[in-house]
């Protein structure tokens, strides 16, 4: 049984193609991380799944139903944490949650859910006065109402502190273990890596990779970068001639070696140590990150944001 299926899904805004011919299948019970830099088309895809916006071409099916034909029936079984939401009505956190519970004809206890997301002490305050992180927790609690079959979470960790992110992960894992399908988007690799069974990478409206984390690691190969600090400028060492070395560069007294094969690292160190005085060695295996950057355009600004945005 498939939880989400899109066929040739395309969405154009004026002359911008936000989502381009997307074919995506999410099986029931899996945790799927939807990865990509800002503006890659992740939220547009999610908005299409929820019938907030309509496709220019192609089709969307959620839990076996066409997203446009009967969106309410889908919403009965889906929990949504949208992006760009707002709590602008003068209602308290508990009232918002109670409203969601009533609308879903569910029998959850609002206080239990508030406790779960760490908002028990703020239940009677106006949701509009909450901090961004607290609003995110409340929105997450609303998504959890009625133990949905499918959780759709758009950038769920936005605004959360590290503790909140940990709680979110724990709850997602727990719900996934109970059989819930989770589809969540993120621009942070480590976050997706931590909980996903499978990952899809979006870039400029196109799905550029879909695989398990292990699969992605393998396709990234054993790429590793070696930094060797030397006593003097490490010139003329002819490290490039070693097998498994893709390239080298020199920064002051530091030799940076890009290895395509992890086994080459030892050879590099032995080779350099025999010809120069090595004072320190650092090795980085940024394989997934490197792959992610390659997939999403490498050195472009939005891709760099992936590494730099503190979350």
């Amino acid at each position: 049984m498939t939880a989400i299926q899109t066929d040739g899904l395309t969405k154009r805004f004026d002359d911008v193609v936000a989502v381009d011919d997307l074919d995506l299948t999410i099986e029931e019970g899996e945790v799927f991380g939807f990865l990509g830099p800002n503006g890659a088309g992740k939220s547009t895809t999610i908005n299409l799944l929820l019938d907030f916006i309509r496709p220019s071409e192609g089709s969307v099916e959620v839990l076996g139903r066409d997203a446009q034909t009967n969106p309410e029936a889908i919403r009965e079984r889906v929990g949504v944490l949208p992006e760009g939401y707002g709590f602008d009505d003068p209602l308290t956190g508990r009232e918002y949650l109670s409203w969601a519970i009533r609308t879903k004809r569910a029998d959850d206890d609002p206080d239990e859910l508030l406790e779960l997301v760490g908002l028990a002490d703020a239940a009677d305050r106006l949701a509009g006065d909450y901090s961004k992180g607290m609003q995110q927790r409340l929105a997450f609690a609303i998504a959890l109402v009625d133990d949905p079959d499918l959780l759709i979470l758009d950038e769920p960790s936005t605004g959360l502190d590290p503790n909140g992110i940990q709680q979110l992960r724990d709850i997602v894992r727990e719900r996934a273990a109970g059989g819930t399908t989770v589809f969540f988007s993120s621009h942070i690799l480590s976050e997706v890596e931590a909980v996903s069974d499978r990952v899809g990478v979006m870039n400029e409206g196109e799905l550029v990779a879909v695989d398990s984390i292990e699969g992605l690691r393998e396709s990234a190969g054993g790429h590793a970068t070696l930094h060797l600090d030397c006593a003097g400028p490490p010139t003329g060492l002819e490290v490039e001639s070693l097998s498994g070395v893709a390239g080298t560069s020199i920064e002051d007294h530091t030799l940076v070696v890009d290895c395509t094969d992890p086994a080459a690292k030892v050879d590099v160190v032995t080779h350099v140590a025999a010809r120069a005085t090595v004072t320190d060695i650092r090795s980085e295996t940024v394989s997934l990150e490197t792959l992610f950057n390659d997939l999403t355009g490498g050195g472009r600004d939005e891709a760099r944001a992936v590494e730099e945005v503190p979350q």
């Binding site: 309410e72 029936a73 709590f87 602008d88 879903k104 929105a139």
Partner: protein
Amino acid sequence: MTLRDVTRKDFTAARRSRGLWAVATALGVLTTFIAFGFSGYRLGPEETVIQLFRTMGGVFGLLLPIVALVASYMAIAGERESGGVKFLLGLPNSRRDVFLGKLVSRLAVVTAGIAFMFATATAMAVARNGALPLGVVAGMFVVSWLYAAVFVAVAVSLSAAVAERSRAIAAAVGSYFGLVLLYVIPGVSVALLVRFVHQTLLGFEPNLDLYNAVLYTSPLIAYRKAMNLVVPDQFERQVLQRASESDTLPAYLGDEVSLLVFAVWLAVPLALGYWRFEGADL
């Protein structure tokens, strides 16, 4: 069907709006003062109260559209701008539930406001004159409510068709000009414009019935005509111009047609607004 949940949440939020309470209080004070200061010339107590409500109708003609527009213009546009609509539609609500729920809730708010104004005016009028022409007061309430409902429908529909606050404001102000002010400001009125196009530009003979029919498309003119339906004969007003005193208006300019005008202004904007909202990318 979760229309009730949408309505209930929206109405709860409205009830907590301080601005709304302030407006309601101001309106109540206003009608109380009108009722207090009003005295009929050579009229008995009952006639005085009827005349008072007739006069109040003149004020309501300009005031109720503002009340209705202000209470409703952000109904859906506000949710779209703030992102509240993402929760409304993330839960098992259809767009129809959201549209109708908002309409019902804003109608309820406006109904409460009008009821409050009528209650304060009636209380003061009874205290001052010792008479209560219940039929007239109830009739005036019904036609005033219908008139305000037209503007709630127009405002909710416009609100459903736009995505931002600024546009919702422009639409609300524009509809007040287009449906109310253009029919009453001397010099720039629709009546003069139609007359000018028909006679000067197109060179036709003057046709008073035609001009009247055009005027009658305004909810304001319809409201003035509808008041004739609920007051005793001697309090009826002419509203539309006649060629001479003896001349009778054709049936399509009769007072009853006002209800049809209301019905059209309720149905058409709602249909268009819903159609736009249903097809919109939110």
